[in-house]
Amino acid sequence: MKWKIISISSAVLFLALWIVLTLGGFVNKLYLPGPDQIFGVFMEDYSKLFRHLGFTLGRQFAGFFLGSALGILVGLLIASNRYVQAFMDPIIEVLRPIPPLAIIPMLILWLGIGAFPQILLVTFGCFVIIVVNTVESVRNVPKIYINAARTLGAKWSYIYHTVVLPAIVPSLVGSVRVCAAASFGLVVAAEFMGAQEGIGYYMIIAQRYLRTDMIFVSIIIISALAWLTDQLIRKAEKRLTRWSERHS
């Protein structure tokens, strides 16, 4: 209870400080917009914002979905077959340290400005995170479960879907969460670099016209959506891993 009060008062204090500073005229509105301006932008621009958001979320989701699905698939293949592993290892090792943002200029050079390179960027970012994590989690499945299944007569493919897959679900969901968070950042960054629509594009235009309030609104919207997505995945996680220690 005590800690909750402290946390709430910190939030209230922070908000109050912002309101006093901006509405009281202590800071230049150009640098820090007040709640009145934020509200104004929402009212004035909401249809435009929705449209841009639609583009952004479409690309973000496509990339996130493709990247995660591909990452899990390739990760499982690598972890289950020595030949695939030997073949893929150097490729993954080369891709792994590349910061996804660093390939944006190249994607634009190769593919121009549009939805495709942006989806590709998000896909790449998610793929690398998930593939490494999937391989790692398969390796971390306790040997004893596999041995127990073997001594109960189970063959490899049966063990794979009745032991390995369920055992890695908690860690997979964890990396999917990381990807979801990363994908919002990636898609906005991609739109900064080259786009004709999307929330990142909207922000770049706002920057050009010194509209701090519009930038703030964009940040708020993106953060809220990222938070909401995370909550959704956590809900799903609780359902999927009801058996694991963390929730019991």
């Binding site: 004893i144 479960y145 001594t151 109960l152 049966y158 369920p166 009801r242 058996w243």
Partner: protein, 252 residues
């Protein structure tokens, strides 16, 4: 009729410091329905021997026949109860128990019937839908035992199954195991470093000596069945234990 016949079986590990002989020319016959314990101090290779019987480890020399046929890899004819918790945490108690039957594609109705009987026998019927993590260590051991039993193995292999439990729970589980075993006779090979546990449970004790693991002595236990906790306090139990302890600690 011997279920298992092991002749001159050896196991040599290739270590960094050269070859290490874990098991040296072990002979062991196990009769159907017999409860045999393999006992020895750490390093005598008792767990290695069990792992070889289970088919999880291969041997370097000698022969091993199960029902007259050589063994290739693990199988449900030799289900194992391990020392550490091996219940599948993502499956309910009931589904854990059914795992081996699912592998064997036992008809659904029969699965239901057998799992129901086992749950009852193990005192787990009120927890059939619980997950293992919600239960105590002793309960989880029951699931492990039930799961191995449900696979209807020719030999039930137990690798220090109660080694991780506290003393009180361990003794309870020993009585439980005897009760379950008397109702459902199986050939059991039980590995332990606990002499009293082996004496209390088994028909026969195989005593191994360490480094390299060699057969030291085979002891037929004279205690009548059914056995009750009072046996642990009896004089003959006490005397035999002292005698075996000396043997185990290197005496002749």
């Amino acid at each position: 009729m011997n279920v298992l016949e092991i002749k001159q079986l050896s196991k040599v590990f290739q270590g960094n410091a050269g070859e290490v002989t874990a098991l040296d020319r072990i002979d062991l016959d196990v009769k159907a329905g017999e409860f045999v314990s393999i006992v020895g101090t750490s390093g005598c290779g008792k767990s290695t021997l069990l792992s070889i019987i289970a088919g999880l480890t291969d041997y370097t020399a000698g022969s091993m026949l199960l029902n007259g046929r050589p063994v290739e890899g693990p199988g449900s004819d030799r289900a194992v109860v391990f020392q550490s918790d091996a219940t599948f945490p993502w499956l309910s108690v009931e589904k854990n128990i059914k795992y081996g039957m699912k592998v064997k594609k036992v008809p659904r109705a029969e699965q239901e019937k057998k799992a129901g009987e086992l749950l009852k026998l193990l005192g787990l019927e009120n927890f059939r839908n619980s997950y293992p993590r919600e239960l105590s260590g002793g309960m989880r051991k029951r699931i492990d035992i039930g799961r191995a039993y449900a696979a209807e193995p020719d030999i039930l292999l137990m690798d220090e199954p109660f080694g991780a439990l506290d003393v009180v729970t361990r003794e309870t589980m020993q009585d439980e195991l005897l009760r379950i075993w008397s109702e459902r006779k199986r050939t059991v090979i039980f590995v332990t470093h606990d002499l009293e546990e082996a004496m209390y449970l088994s028909d026969r004790i195989i005593l191994l000596s360490p480094r390299p693991g060699r057969l030291k002595k085979v002891i037929e236990l004279p205690f009548a069945r059914p056995r009750t906790p009072a046996l642990r306090e009896s004089r003959e139990f006490y005397e035999l234990r002292n005698e075996l302890r000396k043997l185990m600690n290197g005496g002749e």
